[in-house]
Amino acid sequence: MRHIISILIENESGALSRVAGLFSARGYNIESLTVAATEDASLSRMTIVTRGSAEIIEQITKQLNKLIDVVRLIDLAESFHIERELMMVKIKAIGDMRAEIRSMAEVFRGKIVDVTPSTYIVEMTGPSEKLDAFIAAIDSNSIIEVVRSGSTGISRGEKGLHV
């Protein structure tokens, strides 16, 4: 099952490698990983999307919690949450295709952020499945490049992940 593990970690050099190294050393898979500083400069927020049985996910969260630099951690998939990923797609756009891509981007609430006589760049945010759906809806031969940020997420409601 897919899980989104959100981590607050000390903003120290090497913190990312401790997390990434843990996954590779123990044979856990990472679907995506994002990391950036938070409003508190001493902390980074890391979001990892991973898959595994309940036992594996339990081990992953326990092993992550064991890292000295990890301050707090939650599995977002366990409660109501909002998940977003940013994607930019460079697409061949010539003739009739130009209108089609524009309307398709509109359907998916994307924005065209770069235009040349033969290409568009579409920017889109949303849950990963929505971005997958957009890619699937476009003729694969017309896609020049896809850049995705990896998922990040936040829990709904009053509770928050902080120190």
Partner: protein, 578 residues
């Protein structure tokens, strides 16, 4: 007080109460060695190879419970230490390793003797620190000791760039009395509700067994474990790492469990209805094939590390906490409980265990004209009256030492259980002897293992650590040979050495006493001679039966109930007994 980084490091170690540093100098730690030279509180033990430093510090730590301290230079000094760091990590031994590093401005430039020590050690330390600011040095050292010694202990590396220790840069020094780390809270208050459930389950058991491990030794909970076990009257089995936590000679102790554990311990595990695992981690050498592990049992697991719980075996009642307070709470509840252990069921259970014990799984040929390694260990036990600290290397001799030297006290059995590091025994014995100068210290080893850190014989002379090396010389890497005999139709691929040094001459060359023993009747006298030489390191090179195997054995892929046993005295063929 203003001090240089080097002085701060040394003074911090003094303020931390460090007695010994095991180390080896080099370019990146010259400032540190200069500061060490100018003080008298800490004794530096100069090893002959950095691996030796880590194992010696490890032996010191295992036998005392205090953290071992290592000092090595950058590059090869640091990488040589890695095996010893991983050894300590796998067995949760508190150590602080200070490695030199090239100066901050040249880090990342492939400078002379530069290696990414933080990256290399990351998977085999509890934590590591690169010091980038001399004003943070003292605090970092305090944190390192705090992390290494609390919770589930483990090694912590502090990588110190050379410019941080420069003599001309002085900063105010104050060693913190305590530190707190917001992301690290090692002490967990055990959950009373869980403990209550565990006690209820335990007292309802018909075929209970206590399975205790190294966590009891590390958690200084031998006394509590002993009281707990005696109060219940249940059988107890210890893991390789837990030997000595409960007296081995006590009648409730049914021996070690696992791959080379006793038949009775493994059968009792298999047939049990309630298991309480205390400070043990269901290691693969303990469980055998997981699908076949303890099919009838409900399992209670006490461990300080939540990640150890349900890692390999799902447990029914997990209890996260330090072994000692958990056992104390359990004892209280047992005393208060109106339910008492089921006497009748227990009587039947002990009768069943007695039948398994009657198999006499540790029998061996006592009439052989060849020296049987098991006999040597029995004699070692007798000559040292069971009071020695015994270190070992890894292989058959390690298993024989574990099987035939019953340890009645914790911290007496010093071996690399998790990583299985050959070369551990000799330097570890030096560390033990420094910590316990008046005690008998024996290193049980083999002719292959001993050669992996043999250079430390020189260290043993320099620091006058009179240890006794019991070299069970079977001219084979015995455990490899045994597996090749059982699983590879006796194709002994590279499991022997065509050239083996004359260990007597070698010991003498290093300034020690060497004695070669060829006949069984010489063993006892040689051991007595060795242990009577209180101020000499003695190397006993004992020519043992080449073909002897470690029995009983759970072969790979089998369960506890499926042990390979020795058939009869004098025979090395075997039968399956299910």
């Amino acid at each position: 007080m203003e001090l240089s980084g080097a002085q701060i490091l040394v003074q911090s170690l003094i303020d931390e109460g460090v007695e010994y540093i095991f180390g080896y100098p080099g370019g990146a730690v010259l400032h540190l060695y200069d500061a060490l030279y100018q003080q008298e509180d800490i004794k530096h033990i100069l090893v002959r190879h950095e691996q030796g430093a880590t194992h010696a510090a490890d032996g010191y730590a295992r036998s005392t419970g205090k953290p071992g301290v290592v000092l090595v230079t950058s590059g090869p000094g640091a990488t040589n230490a890695v095996t010893g760091i991983a050894t300590a990590y796998m067995d949760s031994i508190p150590m602080v390793i200070i490695s030199g590093q090239v100066s901050l401005p040249v880090i990342g430039s492939d400078a002379f003797q530069e290696v990414d020590m933080i990256g290399i050690t990351r998977p085999c330390v509890k934590h590591n620190y690169l010091v980038k600011d001399v004003t943070k040095l003292a605090e970092t050292i305090k944190k390192a000791f705090y992390v290494a010694t609390t919770g589930r202990p483990g090694p912590v590396v502090i990588d110190v760039p050379k410019d941080i220790t420069a003599p001309h840069i002085k900063v105010p020094y104050k060693y913190p009395k305590k530190v707190s780390i917001r992301s690290y809270n090692p002490v967990v208050t055990p959950h009373k509700g869980q403990i209550k459930k565990a006690v209820e389950l335990l007292l309802s058991a018909q075929k209970p067994i206590i399975y205790s491990g190294g966590g009891v030794v590390l958690g200084e909970a031998s006394k509590e474990l002993t009281e707990f076990t005696r109060a219940l009257g249940y059988p107890i089995t210890n893991t390789l790492m837990g030997l000595g936590a409960y007296p081995a000679t006590d009648k409730q102790n049914i021996g070690m469990l696992g791959m080379h554990g006793t038949y009775e311990a493994n059968m009792a595990m298999h047939e049990s209805d309630v298991i309480i695992a205390i400070g043990a981690r269901f290691d693969d050498r303990v469980t055998g094939k997981l699908d076949l592990f303890c099919p009838y049992a409900k399992i209670i697991h006490i461990d300080i590390d939540p990640a150890s719980i349900s890692k390999t075996v799902r447990v029914d009642i997990p209890i996260v906490g330090e072994v000692k307070p958990v056992l104390e709470l359990m004892m209280e509840m047992i005393k208060e409980s109106s339910t008492k252990p089921n006497k009748k069921a227990l009587e039947l259970w002990w009768q069943q265990i007695a039948q398994w014990q009657a198999v006499d799984c540790l029998q061996f040929d006592r009439e052989s004209p060849l020296i049987k390694p098991q006999y040597v260990i029995e004699q070692l036990y007798d000559v040292t009256k069971g009071n020695a600290y015994v270190t070992s290397d890894v292989g058959q001799h390690q298993m024989w030492a574990a099987q035939y030297y019953p340890f009645d006290k914790p911290r007496r059995w010093i071996n690399s259980g998790g990583l299985g590091t050959m070369g551990f025994g000799l330097p570890a014995a030096i560390g033990v002897k420094l910590a316990h100068p008046d005690a008998d210290v024996a290193c049980v080893t083999g002719e292959a293992s001993i050669q992996m850190c043999i250079q430390e014989l020189s260290t043993a002379l320099q620091y006058k650590t009179p240890i006794k090396i019991i070299n069970l010389n079977n001219r084979y890497m015995g455990m490899v040979r045994q597996w090749q005999e059982f699983s590879y139709e006796c194709r002994y691929s590279h499991s022997y050495m065509d050239t083996i040094p004359d260990f007597v001459k070698l010991a003498e060359a290093y300034g020690h006493v060497g004695i070669r023993i060829d006949k069984p009747e010489e063993v006892r006298a040689a051991l007595e001679t060795a242990f009577s030489m209180k101020d000499r390191t003695v190397f006993l090179d004992i020519m043992t039966d080449r073909t002897e195997n470690v029995y009983p054995m759970i072969e790979a892929g089998k369960g506890h109930h499926d042990m390979k046993l020795r058939v009869a005295q004098g025979s090395t063929t075997e039968r399956e007994l299910a």
